[in-house]
């Protein structure tokens, strides 16, 4: 369910995590912090996994993002801007983790001796090719593609999260799809997988 307010786009998560909850979390109320993490933690984890790529530990990046958000929550003036503020904080944290990904490649993963098969980031030809194609995109195109074509957000919601006009988001999405198609084809994805289709009934 999408609810539109005069100040922007609110998702179902904002309904679960009200401005009062955000204010209480900013004051250190444990129940409010827990509610905020339950409402937004999965989204943050998804963004870190999908935008970070294989070189980034998604849980580490998500933890850093949420800790940074909680530390600066008291500076948020407009609760309606929380989703966009959260996304941009994640983006900044992910960027830093990507820059330091070479350390993880050299030092190895923390506390996992082999890829844990209970994680559902399953190795498959499709997943590997898609991840590699996404990684090859510039960050601004990758972000809009993940928000729209992976997470199914509409143009206005993606634009609100990215902090750009709706028209800019649409043109970036077109360029992102074209470039993704080139990169994915080079990595063996079949043309039917690169079609743009509506939701199945």
């Amino acid at each position: 369910m999408i609810v539109t307010s005069p100040s922007g786009v609110l998702s179902q998560q904002m309904l679960q995590c009200s401005p009062e909850t955000l204010a209480a979390a900013a004051a250190g109320d444990r129940a409010a912090v827990d509610a905020m993490v339950l409402a937004w933690g999965p989204t943050v984890l998804r963004w870190c996994a999908r935008l970070g790529g294989p070189g980034v530990d998604a849980e580490d990046a998500a933890h850093d993002s949420l800790v940074r958000i909680l530390g600066k929550l008291h500076t948020l003036k407009d609760p309606a801007a929380f989703p966009a503020w959260l996304f941009q904080t994640c983006r900044s944290v992910i960027s830093r983790h990507r820059r330091h990904a070479w350390v993880r490649r050299w030092a190895g993963p923390v506390s996992r001796e082999t890829p844990d098969p209970r994680d559902r980031f399953v190795e498959s030809d499709l997943a590997s090719a898609v991840q590699a194609a996404l990684d090859a995109l510039p960050s601004d195109l990758r972000e809009v593609l993940v928000l729209c074509d992976v997470e199914g957000r509409c143009d206005p919601e993606a634009a609100a999260l990215l902090g750009i006009p709706v028209g800019t988001a649409k043109s970036r999405l077109r360029r992102a799809r074209d470039l993704f198609g080139v990169e994915a084809t080079a990595r063996g994805l079949a043309p039917p997988l690169l079609a743009v289709v509506g939701e199945e009934p």
Partner: protein, 292 residues
């Protein structure tokens, strides 16, 4: 809403698991952190002020470390005076088909589903865990030294919360808060902190056979399965029935991965008098029939 087909399918592959989400949640909302803050707030402000005035240079009273350290020291003193090391002795079985919560001692709380035993004095209980999930919470102020042992691992804790799961994959230790020292039978040893987990791998060929079967059920890729098969095969002679079972699974994994020439090679090397020779012959014929 129109989307690229490949990305819509990739969405499911990158959805976070509930386990990953719970680890993230524990890293952010650690109960010991919140409890500590509540205790700090209850400290008498006048006592803090008296301590501040007694502090001499070079300790800078205005520093944030001292501001935090003074109430922490007072809170620790209050806790120490209120708590005493518990007395008593344990010797009981722990068995439950459904998740069951109970206090093992005044300082140790358990939630478990599975089977094991608790022995030793209250001050240093030993939990021998056979199978299932065991969650342990230890009061950090009680000074109790808890040890959890399974076939694959020894876990030592002083004041923390963690989960031990023993199943077909091995023994997995997951830390909710605090830290635990883990020693695995295969030589791995280390300290796990909040949000970290480690799986101590099986030590016997049958244990590795179970792990391989569990990994296949979970859809693990061929490389992970072959690595596990190598580990198990190295623990028994070729004549052992478990070794034969591992070879049969290796052939199946190679066939499923499209590596039919390797699968045929493995199957043909199996001794014709071995306990599963008929299964190997069946697999070899199956490979030959499908290979152009």
């Amino acid at each position: 809403m129109k989307r690229l087909v490949a990305l819509r399918r990739w969405e499911a592959a990158t959805e976070p698991t509930s386990a990953a989400m719970e680890r993230l949640r524990r890293r952010i909302v650690g109960p010991d952190h919140a409890t500590l803050l509540q205790e700090v707030r209850r400290v008498d402000d006048r006592a803090v002020e008296r301590l501040r005035q007694r502090l001499r240079p070079p300790f800078r009273v205005g520093s944030s470390w001292v501001k935090l350290g003074i109430p922490l020291a007072v809170a620790a003193g209050i806790f120490a005076s209120l708590r005493a090391v518990p007395t008593g002795h344990l010797d009981e079985r722990l068995t439950a088909m459904e998740r069951t919560e109970r206090a093992l001692t005044p300082a140790v709380a358990l939630a478990f589903r599975g089977s094991g035993a608790a022995t030793g004095p209250f001050a240093s209980p030993r939990l021998h865990w056979d199978v299932g999930t065991l969650e342990v919470e230890v009061d950090p102020s009680a000074g109790v030294n808890v040890i959890v042992e399974t076939r694959e691992a020894t876990v030592r804790v002083i004041g923390t919360g963690f989960t031990v799961i023993r199943d077909a994959l091995g023994t997995t230790v997951d830390v909710a808060h605090g830290a635990v020292a883990v020693s695995c039978g295969d030589g791995w040893a280390g300290t796990l902190h909040v949000g970290e987990h480690h799986t101590c791998l099986p030590l016997t060929a049958p244990g590795w056979l179970l792990r391989v079967q569990a990994l296949r059920d979970q859809g693990a890729n061929a490389d992970a399965l072959l690595l596990a098969l190598d580990r198990g095969s190295a623990l028994v002679p070729d004549s052992d029935p478990v070794a034969a079972e591992l070879v049969e699974i290796r052939v199946e994994v190679l066939v499923e991965a499209g590596r039919t020439s390797e699968a045929s090679e493995v199957a043909r090397r199996y001794p014709p008098t071995g306990p599963r020779a008929s299964e190997m012959l069946r697999l070899t014929n199956s490979i030959d029939a499908t290979t152009p």
